[in-house]
Every structure is written in C-alpha cells, then in structure tokens.
C-alpha cells in the first residue's frame, strides 16, 4: 500500500500518454531528415497517406528518378512508446544514469519489410541492343532538368526520333520472398555436407504436407465456392444449393449462428444485395462468401443482376418482386459531381492507389485510428453502399441499389403508384416487371438529389473555408496552399501544439549518436516478419482482380495454348 501511495505522489512517475505520434521505421541511418522525407515522397505525400487511410507508404531509394520503383511499407497499429533519455550529469561516469521522459505513444507504425521492386533504367541503345552496344541515358531528354525553352522539349527535332521507353507502373505486386521450390530441397543436401540438415528439411516438408488437408486443396477460386451464377434466360430456378456449396459451408464456416442469420434474412425478403446482407447480418466477409452460395443463387444479368436470390424463388414469375429489382445508378459527368464521388475501381492494387493531388481534408490522427477500428467493426460496409436516402452521396460513381432501398420520396411514390401487373404478362429482360423508362426517370430524380447535395456540400465547405481563413486572402487555388495544409496537418496529426516536427518522425531517434545502430533500425531486428500471412493477403487481393477476367482469360488461354507451347520452345531454343 505504501508503495503505491508513493508512486502516485511522485511526479516523476506520471507520464503523459496523450501525445499520439506516427512512427516510420526507416530502413537506414538518417543524417539528413529532409532527404529522408524526400525518399518517402515528401511531407505532403506522407500526410496524405496517413490521413486518407491508404495503408502503404512508399519508399523510393532514388527519388530523383520518376521511373524508379519503390518498396512498400507495412502498417502496424500496435502501440509503442517514445522515450527521451538524457544522461544525468551529477552521477560519476562509471555508472551512467539517465533521466527519462515519455514523449508520446505511437499510434501507427510504418515499417519496411518488403522486397524492393525490379528496376529498369532509362539507359537505351541507339541500335538493336546486344551485350556490347553502348547505352545512353535518355532520362534528361524525357524530363528536362530546367524549365523548357519554347517548344523544343516536345516538338524539337530530337524529340521525334527519341527511342521509346515504356516501362509499366509497377513490375511486381508480390513482394515477399517465396520459399516454395519445386524440387525436394532435402535431396540436394543428402549425402553432401550436412546430412542432418537434409533430415530437417525432409521433416519440414512432411509437416507442411500433413498440415494442408486435401479438403483445403479443393478450394479454388474458380469454383466460386460453389455458387450458382444464374442467367435470366435459364429456364428453371435452382431449388436447392449444390453439393459443393454445402461442402464448403461445412468445411469453412463452423459458425452456425451466422448461417441461421443469413437464412432468416432471406426468409424475410427473398432477394438481397451483398452489401445489404453484410450490413444487416454483420457476418464477416470471409464467412459470408461460403454461406451465401448455400442459401441463395446469384443473378448475373437481367433486372436482378448482381443480386442474391433465395433458392426456389423465381422472381420472373412473381410481379411483387419488382421492388427488389436492381437500380443501376451512375454519377453523371456533370463537372463537379465527379470530384465528389470516387470511382469504384482504380488500379486494383493494394499498394498502387492514385496520388490524390487535391488537398486532403485535415484529419486528426485520432480519427484515422478510430475510423480504421470502426471499419473493422461494421464489416467495412456503410449504409450508403446499398441504401439511397436524401442527403447521402453514393460511395462510388456506379452503385447498384435495389428499388426498395431507394428511400427517396418521389421514387417511393412512383413505386406505390405502379399499376398492377396483368396476368399473362411476361417479365422483360431489360425492365423486369417495371414499365419502360421507369429507370430513366428514377435516374433523373436521383441526379437532381445528387446535384443538390453537392451544391450543399460545396457551400458548406466554402463557408467553413471562409471561417477558417478569413475572407481577405482566399488565394486557395487547389494546387497551392499545400504549404499551409502541411502545417495544419502536421499540427493535427501529431496532436501536439508545438515543435511537432521533431516528434513527428521517429527517425529523429538517430540523434543519439553514441548508439552505433539507430533506434529505428534496431527495432526492425526484433520484429519477425510473417511472410505467409502477408502473402495470403496479397493473394486475396488478387482474388478480386482475376475473377473479373478469369473466364475470358481461360477461354483465350485454351485457344492460345498452342501458341504458348511454341513460345516455350522458342525460349528454350534461345538458350
């Protein structure tokens, strides 16, 4: 008891943990902070990354070369504490003693543990290239190092005959080492220098094989987890889930509560969009992809396209299903609207997102962390992803709604006033049970709402801006004022009042010169990378991408298989 009392009153033990910091675990020894920040794309870029919740920072070792390919960071949310040590002067040198002071805690940690990408330099041969041909650097010709005079840069004589240099934006999206070899490594060591090493490898291989059960191998993305992709023109609606789907369900989803939840949702309403199910059921995405095929089938065209429909229910025969029809809404090209609503798919690379040059709204670090946590909570789906209400913007430029989820008064009245369907009417491929032009009218209405909404948001924004800056010098062209933004961001992100520069970057740790190895690099030693899980992540991402084109590609591939074989031969011949 006494002890605890003492500590409570001793001021030196009370620390301030309210200052939140961002830690960038920089792989290098930093003498020049400015140069380091340049390799990370500049302070503005770092802030944008953190505030827009993009998960990756990129590190270019040659920031002066626009073609250089970066290495990407991992993001860690585990907290760390930044402690400032100062040696006590009074104590004799034999036993050094330190004062310590907690500067703050790191809310986000970016560390670099992934391979740097392949590189191809803009060194080009004039003639056809072979191992002896001399190379010239054409970088300065493509990007002049001073402001170009007149039109010489683009339309001069030299620019016409310039060789092409067309590398892709990235070479490799897989950037963890891949340890699986296609031969038995133990055989290589057998009877050589280290027999015990061979034995160890063999054991490892055996363990690995045992760990992956046959059932798991069965899982293939091509099977779509047993889902039925139903076409509008198919005759009979499937009445029960296929065997495969049930197998997957039993194998991968042990949570029976989730299955029941989904099932009951479909009892209430026979047709659902995936986003709505995710939102209402709160079942994680990973489980949902196994449960859905066991409960419903998927329309891939027609008036209910991309919706999931209960087994045995045929909306083509039930006119009351018209309220579940798909409402495909796209934001029109009206200037200004698009600036507000993002495209759904940019390059589908986790680590290759567009650089947004516009000013990002100032976000405090707290918000970023909380948002990240919230995303995980509500399944990463917001209500706006499937429901349209007055005053809500669609999350993407193209969004699929169901008519019953479009809660705009005009549209709901239109739906209620629809004439009853005469018996004998056939469900139309394009309009379903709805009258012709109904969709167009709805789009018109929604667009009106959008424009109103954008105007309101814009006005609100400009009002806020006025308040912030004062009306006097609103020279806030979007490209400028990054400087001001920088400062603001800095202040807000580090959540501290002053000299945030020094606290902001953990690389400052390297100031402790008496340490041989800077703190930042020390930490990296301790961490164990988990390549397998990261690889999985990357692969999951891949999932999405390939699903789009996978069928086409397969067809193409089969027809071109011969060509590929030819190609094999060519490659081997050339050796």
């Amino acid at each position: 008891m006494e002890n605890s009392n003492q500590t409570a009153t001793d001021k030196s033990t009370i620390h301030d943990f309210h200052t939140k910091l961002v830690c960038i675990d920089y792989p290098g020894i930093v003498n020049n902070v400015g140069k380091m920040i340049e390799t990370l794309g500049g302070m503005a870029e770092i802030e944008r990354n953190i505030s827009t919740k993009r998960k990756m920072l990129s590190l270019k070792f040659r920031p002066g070369d626009k073609y250089s390919k970066p290495t990407w960071s991992d993001l860690d949310k585990k907290p760390g504490i930044l402690v400032k040590l100062t040696p006590k002067e009074s104590v004799a040198a034999a036993e050094p003693d330190y004062n310590y002071e907690v500067v703050g805690i790191t809310a986000l940690t970016y560390s670099f543990n992934k391979l740097c990408d392949f590189q191809y330099l803009p060194l080009i041969a004039q003639e056809e290239e072979n191992s002896e041909s001399p190379l010239t650097n054409i970088y300065d010709k493509i990007i002049p190092h001073d402001i170009p005079k007149e039109k010489e840069w683009l339309f001069g004589t030299e620019s016409d005959d310039m060789p092409f240099f067309l590398p892709p934006a990235i070479f490799s999206r897989f950037d963890n080492p891949f340890n699986h070899l296609y031969f038995d490594r133990s055989k290589f060591y057998e009877g050589r220098f280290k027999p015990e090493y061979a034995e160890m490898l063999r054991q490892q291989e055996l363990d690995r094989k045992n760990a992956t059960s046959i059932d798991q191998k069965m899982i293939s993305r091509k099977s779509g987890h047993g889902s039925i992709f139903f076409s509008f023109k198919d005759v009979n609606v499937p009445s029960a889930p296929p065997k495969l789907a049930m197998q997957f369900l039993n194998l991968r989803c042990t949570n029976t509560g989730a299955y029941d939840k989904i099932k009951s949702l479909f009892e209430k309403r026979p047709i659902w969009s995936r986003a709505a199910i995710l939102y209402f059921s709160e079942v994680p995405k990973e489980q949902l992809k196994f449960i859905l095929p066991a409960v419903a089938f998927h329309f891939h065209n027609g008036p209910w396209r991309i919706m999931w429909c209960k087994y045995g229910y045929d909306p083509r025969k039930d006119p009351s299903s018209r309220i579940y029809q798909t409402f495909d809404f796209r934001v029109r090209a009206t200037a200004g609207l698009k600036a507000r609503v993002r495209t759904k798919r940019q390059y589908n690379l986790q680590r290759y997102r567009p650089r947004v040059t516009k000013n990002t709204p100032t976000v405090s670090l707290n918000e970023v962390v909380e948002n990240a946590a919230n995303d995980a909570d509500n399944n990463g789906v917001s209500e706006s992803a499937f429901m349209l209400k007055p005053g809500v913007m669609p999350p993407a430029r193209q969004t699929f709604y169901q008519y019953c989820d479009v809660h705009l008064p005009e549209i709901q009245t239109m739906l209620n006033r629809l004439p009853p369907i005469m018996p004998g009417t056939v469900c139309d491929f394009k309009n379903g049970w709805l009258p012709n032009k109904f969709t167009d009218q709805c789009r018109e209405i929604v667009n009106k709402y959008m424009i109103e909404q954008v105007q309101k948001a814009n006005q609100e924004e400009s009002r806020l801006l006025m308040e912030e800056q004062g009306q006097s010098d609103s020279v806030s062209a979007a490209t400028s004022s990054i400087e001001e933004q920088k400062e603001q961001d800095l202040l807000e992100i580090s959540d501290s009042d002053s000299d945030s520069d020094s606290e902001y970057l953990p690389s400052d740790l390297s100031d402790n010169d008496e340490d041989d190895v800077p703190e930042s690099s020390k930490k990296t030693y301790k961490k164990k990378t988990v390549p397998s899980s990261a690889d999985n992540e990357a692969d999951d991402d891949d999932d999405e991408i390939d699903m789009e084109a996978v069928d086409d590609v397969n067809k193409l591939l089969q027809s071109n298989y011969a060509a590929l074989k030819d190609f094999d031969r060519l490659v081997y011949d050339s050796d």
Partner: protein, 479 residues
C-alpha cells in the same frame, strides 16, 4: 521684365545668369517667376553638372508658400540626390509623395535611394499601393517585384506576381476547375467554369481591374517566366504549377503563348507529381498533334501512368494503336494489363512480338509477367512456368548491354530472392554493390546500389545476421 531676361538667358544657354536673374527677381517681384521656368533652368543646370547652383536656385522657392509645389520639390530632391545629400533627398522625395500620392515619378528614385541605404521595408512601403481599389498601377507593381527580387523577399514577390497575373487570369478556386482550365480551348473555359461555380453556389465574376501603365505582352511574359524560374529554383513545384495553370486561363497570354504555356503546365505537373492533370495534357497533345506523333509524347504519356491510378486509358491505347506502332501499342496494353493484375492477357499480347523483336526489355518484361503468374496461388502449372522465368531472365541478362550490368545483376538477384534462393540472390546483390561504371559516376541517379543494399539487408535480417545488417546500414543506407 525679369522674366523676359531670364528666358533670354535661358535660350542663350547661359543658365547661371538666368539663375541670378531669377534669384534677384524672386526677391523683388515674385509674381514674374513661374515654377516651370525655374524648373527648366534647374534642369539644365543639373545636366550641365552644376547641381549646387540649381540647388541655390530652388531653395528660396520651396521655402515660399506659393511656389512649394510637388514639381518643384521633386526637382529639389533630384538636386539633393545629385549633390549626394542623401538624407535630405529622401526627405524631399517623401514630401513629394505626400503632396502628390497619385504621382509615381518620385517613388521610383525614392525606393532606389532607400534601397541603397539598406532601408528595405521603407523602400517597399514607398511602392505600396491600394490593392483593394479597382485600379492597379502595373508599372509600380513591376517595380516593386524587381525590388522584392533584389532583396530576396520571395514570399512577397510571389504575392505581387499573383496580383500581376490575376489582372488577366481567372483565379482557380477549386480542384475541379483545374482540369477545365488545363487543356480546353479558351472559348470553352468560361462557360464551363460558370457551370461548375454555379454548382457550388458561387457566381463567376470577371475582374474588371483598370490597369494603368500596362507593359507590352512580351515584357510581361518574360517577367512571368522569371517568376516561374524562381519557383523552380526554389523547388516550389506546387507554386510553379499554380502559376502556370492560372496563366493558362489568361486572356492576355492566350493569343501568343497558349501552346508554350500548356507545355509548361505539363512540365510543372511532372515536377509536382500531379499525374492526373499531366495525363490529360499529354493526351490532349497526342490527340491534337498531326501524325507522326513525336515519340517523347508517348514516353511522357507513359510516365504519367507511373503514378496515375485510374484505368481509363485502355480504350485510348486501342484507338491510338495505328499511330504509335504495333510493338509500342502492345507494350502499353500489356503494361495496363499488368497493373490490373491480368497477367495472362499481358503475356498474350506480348509473346507474339518476342519472335520478331527479342529485345532485352521485352524478354525482361515477359519474364516478370511469368514470375507473377508462377506466384499465384492456384491453378497454373507452376512447375512449367518457373523454368520459363529463369530462361527469360537469362535471355535478358545476355542481351542487355554491359553498360547496364548493374541493372542486370540487380534484377537477377531480385528474381532469385523472390524464389527464395537466397545465396544466389545475395551473390548478385553483392555484385551490384561493388559495381563501378562511368555512366554511374556521371548519373548518380542511375545507381541501384541502395535498392540492392536494402534487399540484401532484408535477407540478412531474415537469417538473423545482425552484424551484416549493421554493416549494410552504415555503408550503403545512410541518408
């Protein structure tokens, strides 16, 4: 009587005598003397390099009530300056400015004088004018900019340059306006701007600033480029872009400099890492340039895609494929497919080219495609693909020029690293670290030493070789 006499002397170029007559006459009958006459005489005395005499002539005038006019004071100040009585000259000039604020003749020499005395702030104050009014003295503003440039007051220089530019340009107020301004013809710009602004609930009001002492267009354009150069030298790339894009909406530069300005806009986009607008500008150039299209445009177009996220260009490639040539079109299409993750499509579009043009770049690229394919989780016959990857990389390394040996070694090391054959990867990375070449000495930016060092660092870290890690950090990864 005295007046006639003085005039006669003046005409005979005997200014001294004229001055004497005036001095006498001023005491006797001041009404006969006009300030113009005195000024003329003083002027001529000054040009005869006798400012002291001129001074004597002027002193009685400025002391009198009737004759102490701005013009006389100005002459007096000039005389003082010529006599090297700087402090007094400054005071006199200030009197002139006070007496005739709209007059700028006194301000220039006054600011110069103050500048010589290192009194910067005062010099700038002298050149100050009211920017809230609808009238702008451009001559004065330009003078002020010169001054600010000389004393190195960059921030205020930029502000002045902005005021100068906004006389005939539209102020960019929102992100969506940048695109409108960047590449359309001017006739389109205004209506579109109006539309965007009305959406935001703002109105588009053209500024009706009356400019006096307008310089010629060429002169102002020269000044504008000077500003750009200053921004560029200070690495203020965002400012650079802002200036160029604002100037793109100019009514004054439009006629003669539109194309050049657009080129500058592209340049500023590259340096400011704004691939979005840069992309639109290059695309516009490509579409509007009659074929053959300069290769550099394609190179720049591709450069923009290095960091531009949206996948809008697939169709553009298809449409333009006739102009660019078969190989390049396929390359671009393959790049696009690679970024979208469709490796098989990428391979499909490039393999037919390989027979005819087995360039090292092409083999390398296909090698990378196959590498990606072999890393995918499912379905493909990895066993067969892996040897293809090895042989493609081998082909690349044999045919790429020796000048790029470092790059070859790096990529081979990277490939082996990816496949987990660490000892070979480390061997190649070490080759990269030791590599010396005149090209690298000339262009330090073309050295892959740091990339290799980092990857090697990762290998050591994974295997627990902490000493090796430390060595690499100290030797190669010190920033």
């Amino acid at each position: 009587m005295a007046r006639d006499l003085a005039e006669q002397y003046h005409d005979l170029e005997e200014y001294e005598k004229a001055a004497e007559v005036i001095a006498v006459a001023f005491e006797k009958c001041p009404k006969e003397i006009t300030p113009e006459m005195v000024n003329n005489v003083a002027e001529n005395l000054m040009s005869a390099k006798r400012p002291e005499d001129a001074l004597k002539l002027l002193i009685p005038l400025i002391k009198s009530d009737n004759y102490s006019l701005a013009a006389v004071w100005l002459k007096y100040a000039e005389c003082l300056q010529a006599c090297k009585m700087i402090e007094q000259a400054i005071d006199s000039y200030k009197t002139v400015v006070k007496m005739a604020p709209q007059h700028t003749d006194a301000r220039f020499p006054l600011s110069e004088l103050l500048l010589e005395q290192d009194r910067y702030q005062e010099a700038l104050d002298v050149l100050h004018q009211d920017y809230t009014s609808n009238e702008l003295d451009v001559g004065l503003l330009i003078k002020k900019m010169e001054l600010q440039k000389r004393i190195g007051d960059f921030d205020n220089y930029i502000k002045s340059a902005e005021i100068l530019l906004l006389r005939h340009c539209i102020e960019i107020k929102a992100y969506s306006e940048i695109k409108i301004i960047s590449f359309l013809d001017r006739s389109d710009k205004i209506p579109r701007l109006k539309k965007v602004r009305s959406l935001r609930g703002e109105t588009y009001t053209p500024n009706n600033i009356v400019s006096i002492r307008e310089p010629p267009v060429e002169e102002e354009y020269r000044l504008f480029k000077e500003t750009l150069q200053m921004c560029f030298d200070r690495k203020e790339y965002a400012l650079l872009q802002k200036f160029v894009f604002t100037a793109l909406s100019s009514s004054k530069f439009h006629k003669n400099f539109q194309k050049e300005l657009t080129i500058l806009g592209l340049f500023s986009c590259i340096y400011n890492n704004d691939s979005e607008h840069g992309y639109y500008i290059v695309r516009d150039f490509i579409m509007k340039t009659p074929p053959p299209i300069p290769h550099i445009l394609w190179n720049l177009w591709n450069l923009m895609l290095q960091s531009f996220g949206e996948v809008k260009h697939a169709r553009f490639i298809v449409r333009q494929s006739k102009l660019i040539g078969k190989i390049e079109a396929k390359l671009l299409a393959a790049n696009n497919a690679l970024c979208a993750g469709s490796y098989k499509i990428a391979i499909m579009s490039l393999t037919p080219l390989l027979k005819e043009h087995p360039t090292p770049f092409l083999t390398f690229l296909i090698g990378v495609f196959f590498l990606q394919l072999s890393q995918q989780k499912i379905g493909i016959r990895k066993k067969y693909i892996t040897p293809i990857v090895y042989s493609l990389f081998l082909h690349y390394s044999k045919n790429r020029s020796k000048d790029a040996l470092q790059e070859i070694n790096y990529n081979l090391g990277r490939m082996y690293h990816k496949y987990g054959v660490m000892h070979i990867a480390a061997y190649y990375y070490n080759l990269v670290l030791e590599f010396q070449h005149p090209l690298i000495d000339k262009y330090p930016n073309m050295s892959l030493r740091k990339e290799a060092a980092f990857n090697l660092f990762l290998i050591y870290k994974e295997s627990g070789n902490h000493i090796g890690c430390k060595n690499i950090l100290h030797k190669y990864l010190t920033v």
